[in-house]
């Protein structure tokens, strides 16, 4: 399982480990260099001291520390002095010594080396070449003859053992320190990671409070760090949308049940009243006719609801085909004719006979029939209904224009809502069932278009805008 906390801890430990190890290495090398340079200094001093006691004696080079001078304090643990031919002039007393390096430095210079043999392990060796000046022969003072200068090589060595020992001890101290730091840091990052993750836990707890029935709960960003505010904002926005969706769903369900209750009440009450006594043939017939009418209007509403549900589920995508618009509009207006005649309305169409649209003719018929039906219902007597179609830069525009009482401005945005009716009526006379415009919008949107309503004192215009491919 992936754990954010574990990742945070491992990440911080990795960084910390790298830092500790680099620091340890740095300190280790610095320390060993320091120790070595102190040692080299001592060796150099030893070499110089030795060199100052090499002299000539009767042509021979000898190592002769002065009688009254105790050189032992300056002598390194091992040394030797050799001449140019490699003959040993002097060497340290008994005890171990390293394998002396053969290489000789330039005169007056010293050469440092670490030799890996000898039974004491590794040695540090300084090799120094020194010129011993020539000397006047003491025997023949009058005729001075100079013995030529000679070069001797002085080598001093110290075993590295003590340094290695000190370094080892230093390393083990460092290791203990590093381990302690690592543990403390591990614990600290465990706590810190917990602390850093606490807001997530708190957000989680707060979200757990938001259930289907308590969707109005929101997260309060104030107790959280400002880095989390955008996250909380997004969560709240998502909750807003969720709540709105739930609210619409509940509203829709409530609306459906209300819409079905009234006709059911009508059927039940008709039958109940009927059954209260013996009825004549005429009364029975009348009651049946009433119930039939209610049943039919319920059926039509249920079919509309099913159509909406199918479209909501994306199961009624338009089957587009090139359709002559004038013929389609003509058909719709012809169907609305009888109803329009009752109200003495003039129906007219303003569509170019050659105009064709790539639409689903059956679905678009539903849309136009609904719009024309509304235009007829909500019109004034002797008014008019005009259906026009034209091409515009935005696409194909189809307009249904009526000369009715218009729609109040505050109702305009709501007319496409399901079950919304301008005068809250549920009457069959003016109303329909309040789903027609929702269905119309759904179909137009499935065609990739939009439907707009505008209204003024001289009537309302519903425009369908279909972008053309």
């Amino acid at each position: 399982m992936r754990s954010l906390r574990l990742k945070l801890i491992l990440g911080s430990l990795f960084v910390l480990g790298t830092v500790i190890i680099s620091f340890g290495l740095f300190v280790y090398f610095a320390k060993s260099r320091a120790l070595l340079s102190v040692m080299d200094g001592r060796l150099a001093a030893g070499v110089k001291a030795l060199a100052s006691h090499v002299e000539r004696d009767s042509g021979r080079l000898i190592f002769a520390p002065a009688e009254d001078y105790d050189i032992r304090g300056e002598l390194p643990p091992a040394y030797r002095i050799i001449d140019e031919q490699g003959r040993e002039i002097a060497r340290s007393a008994a005890g171990s010594s390293p394998a002396w390096p053969v290489e000789r430095p330039v005169e007056g210079r010293s050469l440092l080396a670490t030799m890996g043999t000898g039974k004491d392990g590794r040695w540090r060796v300084v090799t120094f070449s020194s010129r011993i000046s020539g000397e006047q022969d003491r025997a023949e003072e009058n005729e001075p003859s100079m013995t030529p200068a000679a070069v001797v090589t002085i080598q001093c060595a110290t075993p590295l053992g003590p340094i290695s020992h000190e370094l080892r001890e230093f390393v083990s101290q460092l290791a203990v320190l590093a381990l302690a730091a690592f543990l403390i840091a591990g614990g600290g990052s465990f706590l810190l990671a917990g602390r850093a993750l606490r807001p997530i836990r708190r957000i989680n707890e707060a979200l757990a409070n938001v259930s289907e029935t308590r969707l109005d709960e929101r997260l309060d960003p104030r107790p959280f760090d400002k880095e989390l505010h955008p996250l909380i904002g997004q969560l709240n926005a998502a909750l807003d949308r969720l709540e709105e969706a739930f609210r619409r769903e509940r509203q829709f369900t409530a609306d459906v049940s209300h819409e079905l209750r009234t006709p059911v009440a009508g059927i039940l009450s008709t039958i109940e009243v009927l059954l209260r006594k013996e009825r004549s043939e005429k009364e029975l017939r009348e009651a049946h006719e009433d119930n039939l009418e209610i049943g039919r209007s319920m059926q039509s509403m249920i079919e509309r609801l099913l159509l909406l549900a199918r479209m909501d589920a994306g199961k009624a995508s338009p089957r587009r085909q090139s359709t002559p618009l004038a013929a389609l509009v003509g058909e719709i207006l012809a169907a609305a004719g009888p109803e329009a005649q009752k109200r003495n309305l003039r129906l007219s169409q303003d569509v170019d006979a050659a105009l064709r649209a790539d639409i689903d003719p059956d679905q678009m018929k539903i849309v136009l029939a609904n719009l024309v039906d509304n235009a007829v219902r909500y019109n004034r007597p002797d008014g008019s209904v005009t259906v026009g179609a034209r091409r515009s830069p935005e696409g194909l525009v189809v307009e249904v224009r009526d000369s009715g009482m218009g729609i109040p401005a505050d109702q305009l945005p709501l007319v496409f809502d399901r079950f919304h009716r301008v005068d809250s009526s549920r009457s069959e006379e003016t109303g329909g069932c309040g789903l027609g415009l929702s269905i119309a919008r759904k179909i137009v949107e499935a065609h990739g278009g939009r439907i707009l309503a505008s209204s003024g004192p001289s009537g309302s215009v519903f425009s369908i805008i279909l972008p053309e491919a």
Binding site: S269, V273, S424, S425
Partner: protein, 223 residues
């Protein structure tokens, strides 16, 4: 007893009207809010049965207008809006009762009768005047323990008089409460029903209960 039904569902309105008329009520009907308000303002109804989702004028607005005009009619709201807050809003706007659709006709009837009892400040569904006993639920009438069969209009008239027992009830008031506003019949129909009632209630040998007060109206009272 005169009722007004304001309901825009034609079939429901029709069946309610028929059912209530058969129970002896005088029923006026309106299928939109404006007409309902007009009728309620211009007639005296014992109970108004009011739908809420109405064309032209919303039911709650109608109710509000009635109450603001200080019209005391008992109002029973009959609606498909069944949420608790809808009920609360309805009652708080001034409704006396609230019923949701669909409903049982029997229950509606019982509630209408309960509202009538409230209107006439009676808890007992029986009305008793001397030895006359009227059961307003079963709608039967007994005098000295013997059933008196009555036609619906006769019963309605008797019940109305019994509600106002001891008072002189003017003919105009009977007219208001017992006749449809479209009713074409002339006012002496009341006299016709009174004389029919007398024949059935005040049989020879019994002390008369129905009295005519000249120039004022009628009175139902015991000896």
């Amino acid at each position: 007893m005169r009722l007004l039904i304001v309901e825009d569902n034609r079939a429901l309105l029709k069946s309610l009207r028929k059912g209530l008329q058969e129970e002896g009520f005088t029923v006026d009907a309106a299928d939109d809010g404006e007409e309902g308000l007009f009728l309620a303002e211009h007639n005296e109804y014992d109970v108004v049965i009011l739908d809420l989702l109405l064309p032209k004028l919303d039911g709650l607005k109608l109710l509000q207008a009635l109450r603001r005009a200080d019209i005391q009619t008992h109002v029973l709201v009959l609606t498909a809006l069944d949420a608790v807050d809808e009920t609360v809003r309805g009652l708080n706007t001034g409704a006396d009762d609230y019923m949701t659709k669909p409903f049982r006709f029997e229950e509606l009837l019982a509630r209408v009768r309960a509202l009538l009892r409230r209107k006439y400040q009676k808890k007992d569904p029986r009305l008793v005047v001397a030895d006359l006993e009227i059961d307003t639920v079963a709608r039967n009438v007994r005098r000295r323990g013997k059933d008196v069969p009555l036609r619906p209009k006769e019963y309605a008239l008797l019940e109305f008089l019994a509600h106002h027992a001891g008072e002189v009830v003017p003919r105009s008031m009977i007219w208001e409460h017992l006749y449809d506003w479209q009713d074409e019949s002339i006012s002496n129909t009341i006299d016709v029903f009174i004389s029919r009632l007398r024949k059935k209630i005040d049989r020879p040998g019994l002390p008369p209960l129905i009295h005519t007060v000249r120039g004022a109206g009628y009175q139902l009272k015991g000896g």
